[in-house]
Symmetry: C2
Subunit: 353 residues, 2 copies
Amino acid sequence: MQETEKIEIMNFDQEGYLADGKAAVEAGKKMAQIADRVADEGYDAVFLMGVGGTWDELMQLEYLMNKFGDKDLEVYLIHAAEWNVMGHKRMTERSVVLTASESGTTPEVLEAVKKLKQMGVRTFAMTKPEGPIGQAVGAENCIRMASNHGAGGCEMGYYLADCFGLRLLNRRGCFPKFDLFIEQTENVWAELLDMRKRFEPKAEEFARKYGLAPYTMFIGSGALWGETILFSMCILEEMQWKRTRYITSHDFFHGTLELLEPGVPVVLFKGEDECRALDNRVEAFLRSGKTGDEDYLIIDTAEYAIPGLDDDFRVIVSPWILSSLVTDRMAAYYETVTKHNLKYRRYYHQFDY
Amino acid sequence: MQETEKIEIMNFDQEGYLADGKAAVEAGKKMAQIADRVADEGYDAVFLMGVGGTWDELMQLEYLMNKFGDKDLEVYLIHAAEWNVMGHKRMTERSVVLTASESGTTPEVLEAVKKLKQMGVRTFAMTKPEGPIGQAVGAENCIRMASNHGAGGCEMGYYLADCFGLRLLNRRGCFPKFDLFIEQTENVWAELLDMRKRFEPKAEEFARKYGLAPYTMFIGSGALWGETILFSMCILEEMQWKRTRYITSHDFFHGTLELLEPGVPVVLFKGEDECRALDNRVEAFLRSGKTGDEDYLIIDTAEYAIPGLDDDFRVIVSPWILSSLVTDRMAAYYETVTKHNLKYRRYYHQFDY
């Protein structure tokens, strides 16, 4: 790490990030304690509930819990707005819900949380305890999001959610290395800082070349698919008003590939799970020269080592890595090129609808 | 219907379509027989497996089986390419798989079907019996797709899949009106023909106005969500090389709405299930005038009556209606405006990848 230590990260508070990381580790312990409480009480199914970005973020945990969980574990990713009108036939009083809201006010989540409380379903929220959603779930069921600034928000949100879900697995006998995982990731934040430094020139180059492109494609799969949506939709669409197309590595070949032509920027996020085989197929297609489209970038989380981390844990941290590189760094450089402030919105939070 | 009876449908063989409809009803009986066989033998879970368009088409059946099914029914929509690398922890020798392939050769489905056979999992395919996938599942497990031409392909595919899934529900005591449903939809094809005639001017008007737009948004939910993807991806992307953005009515408000601005065509597909409340919210936003975007079209399946059809069955036929209007008619008019033959591909089926 030595050589990159002094490198700046644009518009990024490195000390603040490391302090947030420490706070995340503490908050993670609370998440594991909540999981212990749930495991002690028993449960029939786990529901991960979000909207937009929080739905995207929880998707990796759904993936991980299905990957590492036993056959009898039921875990469902649900969208709060959809659940508000449809419900879910597998939800009972013995179920448990984990949700999140950075603003603490997300109307669809607030509505759902109030209903869940009436139904007597245990509900936990990663949000501000003082916000309406925090108030609705109650202080003992609320965990403050660790990040005080946006930059590390996603991967620290992943960390917290994973502490809950993986601990639940551990208590079922499914993820025996939970303690080792916590131990080995305690200082992961310094590594994620270092990856940011390494990625800085790539982020700048890509944003300069393609930040003004009218349409950009993002491809991902497996544990990275939620983050692929999050970056495309919550960052580039919502915060940059860029037209994007996100597509899974497997469905890319069933329609979307026809959109490739010279001048269409394509970014493939390569992960480290079973679905890497599907990413490889996309990569081979992009590299084949058959599309005439030379404007592709491949971001492979496997190129970002974390010394001392078990191979088994790579799949878990792969979305944290991707989030650090794109949802944080790529977004920052898009802003410098588009001159479009990431905080500006046309409609969202501007008026009721 | 009298007034519209003599109206032409552009590039559409009306007699051929009605003949296909009759064949679909016959094929539907076979699907129900297969469901009876499965119900007699027993099963632990139902897997609906596709890729691209077939995955999209089976999504409505997943929705319906969850909607009408009992709490213990397990039904999973899986993507063949993803299943090939990941498997599914709930699949056993007692499971049953329904898949489809119009070409009969889809490589990912063929690979999956061969594996399923080795695993001893009962697998049924809506495909050509003489194709590789038909051969792999065996003649007794294969149902020929009813449509001889593309125009009615989707809704007849929906019909066949529904005959299987709804019959399975019926045998569990969940969809008691199965026989009535079959009876009342026997002549639905004439109604779907009539709807095409009514929609013809709208399809032409929209395609003329927006067929050359650089980017078009499609919004849907519930039972119509699969068809929303199918039209956007399989028709407009694959067959017309148009840039599209499809988004659910619920997640639209979490990013994608920021893309609305004057000149961006938006199409909202309004359905007839619980999620209509979510569609209504989008409609109100579009009509609010706050976006300055006047270029929206609302296609509401509820405006297309089917005399004599039970209200309970509307949700089932809503994707058939939407498919008739857009995947068939809108596509036909796009072709006349873009001058881009629907059959032409850059890459798909052009070479191996």
